[in-house]
């Protein structure tokens, strides 16, 4: 009997997790079940991060293990897994700012928490946010920024969403570097999230999934 993949992944045992996946695939187990266990493992990783048991290196490493597991399982998938998503989120680092470490961590945590994340990347022009919100109908928007210059870019992005008549359809969170509640008020966003799990909690609350 293969050891518990959920626990092994949650405990960040890379080699062991890969060995378990290989064994389960060899035993012709449904690959979707394996991915479901991996997802559960990542959920525990997220909880440990929220409880300050895990830190950024642990998140980054869990992401690498998940990537290896997914790569092993993918060729065996008859159909793409369409697991039910909690909801859509549009995310990006605002115009003028090219920092992505923080953004990538939040996007990753939203993704493994079951959200369909539309990551627009860095230095995202205001209009691109507006267009993506229109296209996807996402009810949650995340604006990331490391530099203080992002204060104004965020404000302009929120204003553009307002001008496009979309403000009442979305909740907007900000986060990164020098952000705070003061800056949340300045930009006109709905909330400031201190870290990745705060972002996940906000998204869950707003989508009604918490």
């Amino acid at each position: 009997m293969a050891k518990d993949l959920v626990k092994t992944l949650a405990d960040l045992k890379e080699q062991e997790a890969i060995r378990i996946v290989e064994e389960r695939l060899k035993a012709k187990e449904d690959p979707l079940k394996i991915l479901e266990d991996a997802r559960k493992g990542m959920e525990i990783v997220g909880k440990r991060f929220a409880n300050s048991e895990y830190f950024i290196p642990d998140l980054v490493y869990s992401g690498e293990i998940l990537k290896s597991v997914t790569e092993l399982v993918k060729p065996k998938l008859a159909r793409t897994a369409q697991s039910k998503k909690l909801g859509k989120v549009v995310f990006g680092t605002v115009a003028g700012d090219i920092h992505d470490i923080g953004k990538n961590i939040v996007v990753f945590m939203l993704d493994v928490s079951g959200f369909e994340v539309h990551d627009l990347g860095v230095d995202v022009p205001v209009q691109k946010f507006v267009d993506k919100i229109k296209e996807t109908g996402a009810p949650v928007v995340g604006l990331s920024g490391f530099l203080a210059l992002a204060f104004d870019s965020m404000k302009q992005t929120v204003e553009a969403i307002q001008a496009a008549g979309l403000r009442n359809n979305v909740k907007i969170m900000i986060g990164g570097g020098q952000m705070s509640d003061e800056i949340k008020n300045y930009t006109g966003a709905d909330a400031y999230g201190r870290d990745a799990m705060a972002g996940v909690s906000l998204a869950k609350k707003w989508i009604g999934a918490s």
């Binding site: 290196p57 642990d58 230095d123 204060f151």
Partner: protein, 450 residues
Amino acid sequence: MEKQWDKMTPEEKQETLFARWISPKDPEGNDLKFPSPEAQKLYKERVTRIKNAIQLKKKPDRVPVLLIPSFAPAFYSGLTPHDVMYNYEKIAPAWKKFFVDFQPDGHGHAFVPTPGKFLDILGFKLYRWPDHGVAKDTTYQCIEGEYMMADEYDAFIRNPLYFFYFTWPSRVFSALEPLATLPPLAGVTEIYTASIPFMPYGMPPVKAALQAMMEAGDEALKWMGACMAFAGEITMAGFPAYLAGATKAPFDVIGDTLRGTRGVMMDIYRQPDKLIAAMEALTPMEIQLGVDAAKQIGCPLVFIPLHKGADGFLSDEQYKKFYWPYLKKVILGLVDEGVVPFIWAEGGYNSRLDIIRDLPKGKTAWLFDQTDMVGAKKALDGIACVGGNMPMDLLTVGTTQQAIDHTKRLIDVCGKGGGYIMANGAFFDKVKWENLKTIVDTVKEYGVYK
């Protein structure tokens, strides 16, 4: 006559560097002639104020106040970062106006506007800079990547100097890619092999790379002339430079621009021993950087910006295993040579305060960004000077009254008994200028020790 350097105790070395700082020299090595007795008096008062705050032996006359800007002096003069990076003659007037108008207790040189043409000539890939990937009115920003691969630790540990001379530049400067083909000159110790390592220097791509280096050197010299013009003028106006140079924590050297954040965090798991060995190899180099700068410039303060050991970046255990031991070695190595590490702890440092207490008394200054200053003062009281924490949101969108209130609160909490420097918590570009002025003026009025 100074006692021979090698015979001095660390305390004597520190005093000697402070003594050199308070009596600056002109370029010919003579005592600097200030244009007025007032300027000289201001200069000496300011150095003494900072010295007393750091040494914890005497209370300063008042809390020292420093402003540590990024491109703020350019914006304050209506210039963009692009303007000052490409027109070096615009640097000195803008930087001087900034410090003269706001009247803090020191200046931090004008090295922020890295020369744009230098970056153009070498094709710098590590950053995007104004009009080269970011807008002209935007600051430069680093592009993280793996500029050292996961399997290159052994080569790095064996010969870090070769890595920094050839390998790394060949990756971050597009014009210097041919440097990767250059062998070390270790074979030149016997006549019959002497010419062999020189062969690549005859190849056209290497010649072009060397040509680019020489042109980049010309540009660097031109730019340094502009920076030194500022340093000369601002010193004459009575402002000491609050740093001689900079060095880094070994973990940040590897995590910032060699392996990148993702890379170094993977290494914590996949090859921790090699990561540690690489940091051990780096430690003496980082010490040397700081010591050389302090002795050459004649100012004991050496800047150490801290990045990837902040709250959340590492667990306590990871911090104690990978970050602190090597940062501590760098700090103690500097302190042994009389240098005062001027540590700029970016982000939050709340979870590290108990760990960093393990330092000799009155030898370091810690400037914090978002750390709770009540906890910082409590942890470091009697051990190290603390400072910083003027928040970016307050500087940018706060009211004048909020600036006054926060300044007074910081002085109440941290100023008690000395050992405190008021300063901003993170580098700033565009802020409300009246808030900066308010902070400096409030410190001068409210921060006087009686």
